[in-house]
Amino acid sequence: MLSTVLVVAPLVAIFVYLVYKGASSLNLDFFTQIPKPVGEAGGGMANAIVGSAILLAVGSLIGVPIGISGGIFLAEFGRGTKLANAVRFTADVLNGVPSIVMGIAVYSLIVVPQGHFSAFSGGVVLGIMMIPTVCRTTEEMLLMVPNSVREAALALGVPNWRSVLAITVKTASPGIITGCMLAFARVAGETAPLIFTAFGNVGRSTKLSEPIAALPLQIYVYAISPYDEWHRLAWAGALVLIMLIVLAVSLVRYVTSRGVMKGAS
C-alpha cells in the first residue's frame, strides 16, 4: 500500500501542478492555431501536436519492427550464440547513449548529407532510440513463454519459424506491446535529439523532407523565452503532452485487452 502511494504520488503531483498552471490556457485555439508572432496574444500549438504525431509515427515504424525482430532473434533463434551476445551488448550500449549524442549522430548521418533538417531525420533518431527498449522487453517476454508451449507446436509438425510467430510471439504479445508502449512514451518527450534533426517549425508543415515542429521542442523553446505569453503556452503544451501520452497508452491497452482470450494465463 505504502509503495503504491510512493510511486503514484509524484505522478499525481506533477499532473496536478500542470493542470493548475496550464489548464487555463487550454482552449480550442490551442489545438487549432499555430504560434502567433512575438508580441501578439493567442495562438496555439497545433503544428507541434501534429508534428509530434508524425515524428512518433515515423519513429515507431522504424523502431518497433526492428526492435521486435531483434528480440525474436535473441530469444528464439540466436540463444547462446556469439552474435546474440553482440546484439544484446549493442542494444544495451545504445540504450545508454545520451539523447543529445544520438541527435548529433543522426545530424551527421542524415541532415548533413541531405543539406537540410527534416521530419524524416527526426523520426529516424526517435526510432533508433526506441529499438533497445523494444528489443530487450520483447526478448524477455518471449523467454517467459514456457518451453512446453513451443514443444507443443513443434510436436504438431509446425515449422520452427511458424511456431515462433504464431504461437510464441502471440503468447507473449501483451508483454511485447507493453514494451513498445514504454519505448513510445519515452521518446514522445525527447527534446534534445530533435534540436539537430527535426529542428522545429513555426508553420504548419507536414512534409517529411522539411523541418517539423514537435511538442517537447516547442515547449522548450517557449519555456526559455522571455515572453510570458509563450510561458503560458509552454505550460499548456506540457499538460497536453502528458495527456496525449496517457491517452495513447490507454488506447493501446484497451485495444489489446479485447484481443487476448479471456481466461488465458
Binding site: 512446453s148 513443434l154 510436436a155 509446425v158 482470450m261
Partner: protein, 252 residues
Amino acid sequence: MGVGIEVANLNAWYGANHALQEINLNIPANHATALIGPSGCGKSTFVRCLNRMHETDPIAHVTGTVLIGDLDIYKDANPVEIRRRVGMVFQRPNPFPTMSIYDNVAAGLKLNGYGNRHMLDEIVERALKNSALWDEVKDDLKKKSGASLSGGQQQRLCIARALAVDPEVLLMDEPASALDPVSTAKIEDLIFQLKAQYTIVIVTHNMQQAARVAEKTGFFLNGRMVEFDLTHKIFTNPSDKRTEDYITGRFG
C-alpha cells in the same frame, strides 16, 4: 490406421552423454506398447527420437535407424514431416494459452495452412469425440480458452489436438502422471479405444498403468533396453533379474 515401428541400433547423445545405447525394438501396429524404467533410464529420450523431437536440443545427436512403416525417418524425411505422422502428448498438459478450445484442436491444421472452414469443423468435432471431450465442451468451443479447462480435460484437449492432424502413431510421455485417479482412468480407457486406429507408445513410471493398457512392455535401464516382452509375462515372470528387481520395487 497405425503402422509398426522398427528401431535398429539406435544410439542417442546429449553432447557427450550417451543417453541411449544400441536400442533394437519392434513396436507392433495398432497396439499400445509401454516403456517403463527408473528416472533417467532413457525412455523419454527414446520416445523423443521417434518423432525427432530429441534433436530440438542443439547438442543432441542420433545414429541408427528408425522405420515408421516403411519410412526411414532420419533418412527419408525431415523432422517437420515426421511430426505430422507421429503425434505427441506431453506429461504436463500444454494447450496453447491464447487460443480457444476450437483453435487449439485445429492448431496443427491451421498452422500448416489448412483453412477449409467446413472441413475444420468436422475434424475438430471428430478429434474431440475421439478423445472423449466433445460432450463436455461442445457448447463452449470458441468461447472458452484451452487453459480454462481442468487438468484432465486439458490433457484430453491435447490428445484431441494431436489426433486432429491424423497421425499414424501417438506417443504419450507419462500422460496421466499429473492427473487424479479418475482422470487417469478416463485417459486409460481412451487409450484402449484409440489402439484400434493408432499405434500407441506410452512412457510411464506407473507400472500398474502399463499393465492396464499395454500389450507389450519394454524395460529400460541406464540407456539400454533390458527386456521387451508381452506385458503379462513381464509382470508375472520376467526373464531378467534386473526387470524383476525393478518391478518388485527392490531397486537400490
